[in-house]
């Protein structure tokens, strides 16, 4: 089935991107996770009608994408995919907030439109930051980072197991769905009954697989613990990275760089 296969390919692509060897890739994942968190918090902390102060924040994902050798068009395409969902709610803002707050020549722009645009920009920034994080860090490393930042070990194990077996289950599910599709015509055969049966089978097989994995774990002496060790050091580069970006975000948060730049340029032009 198209959806599943596409998803797995997507995973594999992001994985491959994460395995590159650039300076940012080599940074300790904890630093990258923390900076991304700081970024997102800074972005969402803006007031409803603040639009222009958000623009300078694009510097962060842009720089990271460049330094991390990530394909910008791919990231942009993924952002565009997700945008409609945030906008679905945001687009209603102009309906409920019609008071004009800005005049561009003859055009009156209502607060609703500004806040809607703000929502769109926020979506782009936050999604971009998340994807960039995965692209320069990779999922297993993010899990390790979270575990070292306090996430419970049991949950880290769960995340890693889940991730590892998504590939296997997606393939099984894809085969089953494809088999059903090849034997159904139009809308016949894709109803709830065949669905329940298909997923039911998949579920039973999944359960059996879990038993086999458990067998394999026992065969190698499993007794409850998971030795998840990974060498990592939080050195000068990481501290610089963390402090540098955090200060940058704080500055941008408190000072409207766009305004300043705009006024500067307009002052020069006069």
């Amino acid at each position: 089935m198209g959806a599943i296969d596409g998803t797995v390919l997507d995973f594999k692509r992001l994985e491959r991107l994460a395995m590159a060897d650039t300076a940012v890739h080599r940074l300790d994942p904890r630093a990258k996770v923390l900076v991304t968190c700081a970024f997102i918090i800074a972005v969402v902390s803006f007031g409803r009608y603040e639009l222009t102060p958000l623009f300078p924040f694009f510097i962060f994902p842009a720089v990271m994408i460049a330094l991390g050798d990530l394909p910008p068009r791919y990231i942009a395409a993924k952002i565009c995919l997700v945008l409609p969902f945030a906008l679905a709610v945001g687009i209603l803002n102009p309906l409920f907030d019609r008071e004009v707050v800005l005049r561009l020549g003859p055009l009156g722009v209502s607060g609703g439109w500004i806040s809607c645009a703000s929502i769109a920009v926020r979506a782009m920034l936050t999604v971009g930051a998340a994807l960039t994080l995965v692209g320069i860090t990779g999922f297993p490393a993010i899990c390790q980072a979270l575990a070292r930042l306090g996430m419970p070990q049991a949950f880290a194990v769960q995340l890693l197991f889940l991730y590892r077996y998504i590939f296997v289950l997606a393939e099984e599910g894809s085969r089953a769905a494809r088999a059903r599709e090849l034997r159904s015509f139009g809308n016949k055969g894709v109803g709830v009954r065949s669905y329940g049966s298909l997923l039911g089978h998949l579920l039973v097989r999944t359960w059996q697989r879990a038993e086999r994995i458990h067998m394999a774990m026992l065969a190698r002496g499993f007794s409850g613990g998971f030795p998840l060790r990974r060498p990592s050091r939080f050195g000068a580069a990481e501290v610089l990275y963390l402090l540098g970006w955090s200060v940058f975000f704080i500055v941008l948060r408190l000072w409207n760089a766009s305004q300043f730049l705009g006024a500067l340029v307009m002052g020069i032009c006069r």
């Binding site: 089935m1 599943i4 998803t7 992001l14 968190c37 997102i40 918090i41 969402v44 902390s45 007031g47 409803r48 009608y49 993924k78 952002i79 997700v82 945030a86 709610v89 945001g90 409920f96 907030d97 008071e99 806040s115 929502i119 769109a120 979506a123 936050t126 998340a130 999922f139 419970p152 769960q158 995340l159 197991f161 889940l162 077996y165 998504i166 289950l169 997606a170 099984e172 599910g173 769905a177 809308n187 894709v190 109803g191 709830v192 065949s194 669905y195 329940g196 049966s197 997923l199 039911g200 998949l202 579920l203 039973v204 999944t206 359960w207 879990a210 458990h214 774990m217 499993f222 007794s223």
Partner: protein, 337 residues
């Protein structure tokens, strides 16, 4: 529907993150303490199953559209509340990172909306009660539909509350609720039907899978959950409704300051660090003076009353989260002893 970073404020996002993180920690400890080590591969693999299952559709007759499984309720039926919550949370984490479903800050909201309600409320309080001791396909189907609808209604309501409390969207509460709840009624029915279909099949093929959720619970658990639930409701009620009528009279501390100095609020020395810090605090604080930060454009209605209630609710939720966490930390230490 997933909550999105773009519609979230740091306070609401942070609160829900704290709540979800606390719940994850609690469930992790519970799962680890339960001595069934088969759980570990099972949770991982079932999470992957749910992931794959969400991408397989079935056509809904008479509408021309298709539906698919969400999985929260199904996981609760297969694994029991605590393991199911963790599994749902893990699926959401992967979705947030790879598909930006929602966002990283909104993850806290989503884990709570989509994980907590099905696993800890819909499943034990509705599904289990309806199915009783002898599951049979019609009973399972009915219970699944009712529980799914209930769980999704609560989840949808969570999204509404979180969006409105964040204040980024201009949608009024009533309108948003009027849109979300009916949509999620439909989605809930679809979810219930899908869940019932899968569970019925599995029940016929391998009944022990469906009865697999742990029956026995340690004695102290139920009361704890009821207490917490009651606590939450009480806190929200007190915070939300009562503060609506909170007097506009100055708060305790401000009142004592006024008495001492004869003016509201001690004003710091005119220049220097103090002014700068005060200015910083003014700018950065989202709730200056406890009402919503007045957006740049003036609003027609006062909005003050709503601001106080919202602050009350948020404050109540935050204190609860803190209480929850401290309780967990203390509990953990008991086990280590």
């Amino acid at each position: 529907m997933h909550m999105s970073d773009a519609l979230l404020s740091p306070v609401v996002g942070g609160t829900m993150w704290a709540a979800s993180a606390g719940a994850v920690a609690y469930c992790s400890a519970k799962v680890r303490a339960g001595l069934d080590e088969r759980r570990v591969p099972l949770m991982g693999v079932l999470g992957a199953f749910i992931f794959a299952a969400q991408m397989i559709n079935f056509s809904i007759p008479a509408t021309g559209s298709s539906g698919h499984l969400g999985g929260g309720l199904l996981l609760a039926i297969l694994l029991g509340p605590h393991a199911a919550f963790l599994t749902t949370a893990s699926v959401l984490v992967v979705q947030a990172l790879f598909f930006a479903d929602g966002g990283l800050l909104a993850l806290g909201c989503n884990i709570f909306n989509l994980g907590f309600f099905p696993a800890f409320i819909a499943y034990p309080l509705i599904y289990r009660r309806m199915v009783g001791e002898e599951p049979s396909p019609p009973r399972i189907a009915a219970a699944a539909v009712v529980s799914a609808v209930a769980g999704l209604q609560m989840g949808a309501f969570g999204v509404v509350l979180e969006t409105v409390c964040s204040g980024i969207s201009s949608l009024p509460f009533a309108t948003f609720a009027a849109i979300m709840q009916p949509i999620h009624l439909a989605i809930g029915i679809v979810e219930g039907v899908a869940t019932a279909a899968v569970v019925s099949f599995a029940f016929k093929a391998r009944p022990e899978i469906v009865r697999g959720a742990p029956e026995a619970r340690p004695a102290g658990n139920r009361p704890l959950r009821r207490v917490l639930l009651a606590f939450l409701v009480a806190a929200l009620f007190t915070g939300g409704v009562v503060s609506r009528f909170a007097s506009k009279d100055p708060d305790g501390l401000e009142w004592s300051i006024a008495r001492i100095t004869g003016k509201d609020d001690l004003k710091g020395p005119g220049r220097g660090v103090h002014t700068a810090l005060a200015a910083l605090q003014e700018k950065a604080a989202l709730f200056p003076g406890y009402a919503f930060a007045k957006p740049a454009a003036p609003k027609k209605d006062g909005g003050d009353s709503t601001g106080t209630s919202v602050a009350g609710i948020v404050g109540g939720a935050m204190t609860l989260a803190v209480a929850f966490l401290s309780a967990l930390l203390l509990k953990k230490r008991n086990w280590a002893a």
